[in-house]
């Protein structure tokens, strides 16, 4: 059996440098002694130690589970301690990652744009120069989340089409249509599609 594929870890910005080299001592002559710190490990150090987030918050940002984040983080510390104690150089590269940045929407010209440079705060639309911008969340998944919000929380009557907003805690089938006494079903559910 092949193992489950790794989830892509979300990285906000690549590190400003590609590694560290030791100086002094006898170790700096040998160039081939290096530890390879992966991008995801760098990001976990940045989030947990530099931004001082806890593991759960960091895992949410990197789009992995909390145990995975803890594993990445401990691996990162292991590698950094190895470099520190044995005087090895650190090379930051590789890892199963993708880069992502914040997205904004312009209310004036209707465009969406991202902010590739985190250091500079976005204040105006890069296209029309309007200051009427807002943060746009879930850029990639907008269609999916819209659809689930509109359709999932409505109970409909399969015979007359009566619809009411779903009340959480009460299954739709336990509710009865006031007009034709049918049991209701959730709109867009598997059951609803079969009718």
């Amino acid at each position: 059996m092949s193992p489950r594929p790794k989830r892509l870890r979300k990285i906000s910005n690549p590190p400003p440098i590609s590694g560290f080299r030791p100086y002094g001592g006898k170790h700096n002559k040998s160039n081939n002694d290096a530890v390879f710190l992966e991008y995801e490990e760098y990001e976990s150090i940045r989030l947990c130690d530099f931004e001082r987030l806890n593991h759960f918050e960091a895992s949410e940002i990197m789009n992995v589970s909390r145990p995975t984040l803890t594993r990445i983080y401990s691996k990162a510390r292991e590698k950094m301690s190895e470099a520190l104690v044995l005087g090895k150089q650190i090379i930051i590269e590789g890892g199963k990652v993708y880069f992502d940045s914040e997205w904004f929407a312009c209310n004036s010209c209707g465009c969406y744009f991202n902010n590739p440079d985190k250091e500079v705060e976005t204040e105006e639309c890069p296209l029309c120069g309007s200051k009427a911008i807002s943060i746009y969340e879930d850029f990639e998944y907008d269609d999916v989340s819209d659809a689930s919000q509109v359709t999932q929380n409505i109970c409909v009557c399969p015979s007359c089409g009566y619809a009411k907003p779903h009340s959480f805690g009460t299954p739709c089938r336990k509710e009865v249509c006031p007009e034709c006494q049918h049991h209701l079903v959730r709109k867009e559910s598997q059951h609803y599609k079969r009718i």
Partner: protein, 106 residues
């Protein structure tokens, strides 16, 4: 500062292309010198890898912004890494000339 716009044709009256990797032309517009450059997209009909090739092309022209109708998942992470700003404009009726006017509005 240079911006790239995806275009369906090689004139200012052509409409913008809604796809990034498989657009017909790239318009490289220089906001300082007000100069245009039309580059035909060689990867238009490529079976695969059109997006990364297109990203490489715009990156080689030192572009800071890319305007298109849509960016694929590969392109988003690639352009993010290259520090190029993506602008998504879902208005297929806009011509290149109109977009350049918008850009110059500042």
């Amino acid at each position: 500062m240079k911006a790239a716009i995806t275009s369906t044709g090689n004139s200012l009256n052509s409409k913008m292309d809604q796809r990034f990797g498989r657009c017909a032309y790239f318009v490289i517009y220089d906001t300082e010198s007000d100069g245009y450059e039309f580059i035909p997209n060689s990867g238009k009909d490529a079976p695969e890898g059109a997006g990364p090739a297109a990203a490489q092309l715009v990156a080689s022209r030192d572009v800071k912004k890319v305007i298109s109708g849509e960016f694929g998942i590969k392109i988003k992470s690639l352009l993010d890494r290259l520090n190029i700003q993506m602008i998504v404009l879902k208005e297929p009726e806009k011509t290149i000339g109109q977009i350049v006017e918008l850009l110059n509005h500042k």
